[in-house]
């Protein structure tokens, strides 16, 4: 949940607020970063950089432009994409096996306390292939609606409605 007061405190430079923000967002952001760079150590470094940026640039966040989560998401995706475009990364990671978050979830061997193995299997099983693609591009890879429509050869409006149906499935499962 976005807490406007908390973000305001962060923007004032309140370190307690920063810690709370970290608790709220670090794991999901780590998941995003990891799904792009696919290396725990590298993902850790990027996560740290991302949160340093959040601390230093919090004043540039403006709620008229979008959600705080979306703002962080963009910082994280950009930092991760910069990393995989860098030379050192290309040399290091020649044989990536996973293509998207689904592969990562399926290959996962250890889990954080919040989500157990059964929960994860459930996540994957309920998602149709088209949902997996849509969520991968739009959420994990940060494609725009237009780019996604082009990539999947789908009308713009279909991207919007199909994706809505996919997310609804996810939410149903979370309520159970």
């Amino acid at each position: 949940m976005q807490q406007d007061g908390l973000i305001l405190e962060l923007q004032k430079g309140n370190q307690r607020a920063f810690e709370r923000i970290y608790e709220l967002y670090s794991e999901s952001i780590y998941g995003i970063i990891y799904s792009i760079v696919q290396d725990e150590k590298v993902a850790e470094e990027i996560l740290q950089d991302v949160f340093l940026k959040i601390w230093e640039n919090s004043s540039s966040y403006n709620s008229d432009k979008g959600r705080f989560f979306t703002w962080i998401l963009n910082i994280a995706r950009n930092a991760s994409i910069d990393q995989i475009r860098s030379k050192s990364h290309k040399n290091k990671q020649k044989n990536l096996t996973s293509d998207n978050f689904v592969d990562i979830l399926e290959n996962k061997t250890h889990f954080s306390a919040k989500m157990d193995a059964i929960g994860i299997k459930k996540y994957i099983d309920i998602l149709k292939p088209v949902c997996k693609k849509l969520i991968d591009l739009l959420f994990f890879k940060g494609f725009t609606q237009k780019e996604t429509a082009e990539e999947l050869e789908m009308p713009l409006g279909t991207v919007k409605t199909k994706n809505r149906a996919c997310i609804n499935k996810l939410r149903e499962m979370l309520v159970e």
Binding site: F18, E27, Y34, E40, L52, F69, L105, Q145
Partner: protein
């Protein structure tokens, strides 16, 4: 606005992803502030996405917070120094800023110098690279020519200077298998403006000249070796000076060099 319809359109999901244009996002932000139902929906979507993303994390990175805080503390050390407000400190401050300002001017000057040095250095490197590339091309050509000279199918026909230019000299290396004639024209004088050398293959009985080509761009060609096609049963080769573009038949008064193919 029909809120139900707005919510079920799927725009809010794209909004949380950050997949909308900036303008579209601003509109959603506005709607969300005006309608609590929309806000609630967005928060639920966000919550679901956060959970999904968390499952992709190798582990919960709680422990990293400590090391991030250390980094933050390091960065904050300077700004956390308490301010001291005595007068002499402020004088020193002024003096320091003036010194700093003067220093800055020098630095800007230095910086410009360095930038100039850098760009002239870059130009030098580019020139070097060009020279190396040229040398490599030349070496490549030389290798090719050597291969031609060593080829056993190649006959070498020396062409001697004639009346108009007794000092002139040229050599034809003729590969009959490949129907190629390499003309080494190093010892031909530079043709006058508007004139060009033309190479002829000759049959002797009766004398029938056939043009096999022009020595184009003679002045700019460094090694003065020209490759021409020659599928004729040549018995001799001659080179004449002709008007630009060449002639139908040779101008015999301008015959520079001539040489017969020796019988095999």
């Amino acid at each position: 606005m029909d809120i139900e319809e707005y919510i079920s359109s799927g725009i809010l999901e794209l909004y949380v992803y950050g997949a909308l244009t900036e303008e579209e996002s601003r509109e959603v932000s506005k709607a969300l502030k005006e309608h609590p139902e929309i806000r609630r929906e967005v928060e639920e979507i966000e919550h679901a996405l956060q959970q999904l993303a968390s499952t992709a994390a190798p582990y919960n990175p709680e422990a990293l917070l400590a090391s991030i805080k250390t980094k933050l503390a390091d960065k904050n050390v300077i700004s956390l120094q308490p301010e001291r407000k005595t007068r002499w400190v402020s004088y020193i401050g002024w003096a320091a800023s003036i010194v700093l300002l003067i220093g800055l001017f020098f630095l800007i000057g230095d910086n410009n110098d360095l930038r100039e040095q850098l760009s002239s250095e870059k130009a030098r490197v580019a020139r070097m690279e060009q020279q190396i590339a040229d040398a490599r091309d030349d070496a490549e050509k030389t290798r090719e020519l050597l291969a031609v000279l060593r080829d056993k199918d190649v006959s070498r026909i020396p062409l001697q200077g004639q009346n108009v230019a007794p000092e002139a000299y040229a050599t034809v290396y003729w590969n009959k298998e490949e129907n190629k004639a390499y003309i080494d024209a190093k010892d031909l004088p530079e043709p006058p403006r508007g004139k060009v050398y033309q190479v002829w293959s000759l049959k002797l009985e009766p004398l029938t000249p056939t043009s096999i080509g022009l020595l184009d761009e003679f002045t700019t060609d460094d090694n003065k070796i020209f490759t021409l096609e020659n599928a004729n049963e040549s018995e001799a080769f001659g080179i004449t000076l002709e008007p630009e573009g060449g002639s139908e038949s040779p101008t015999m008064e301008q015959l520079y060099v001539l040489g017969a193919v020796s019988a095999p």
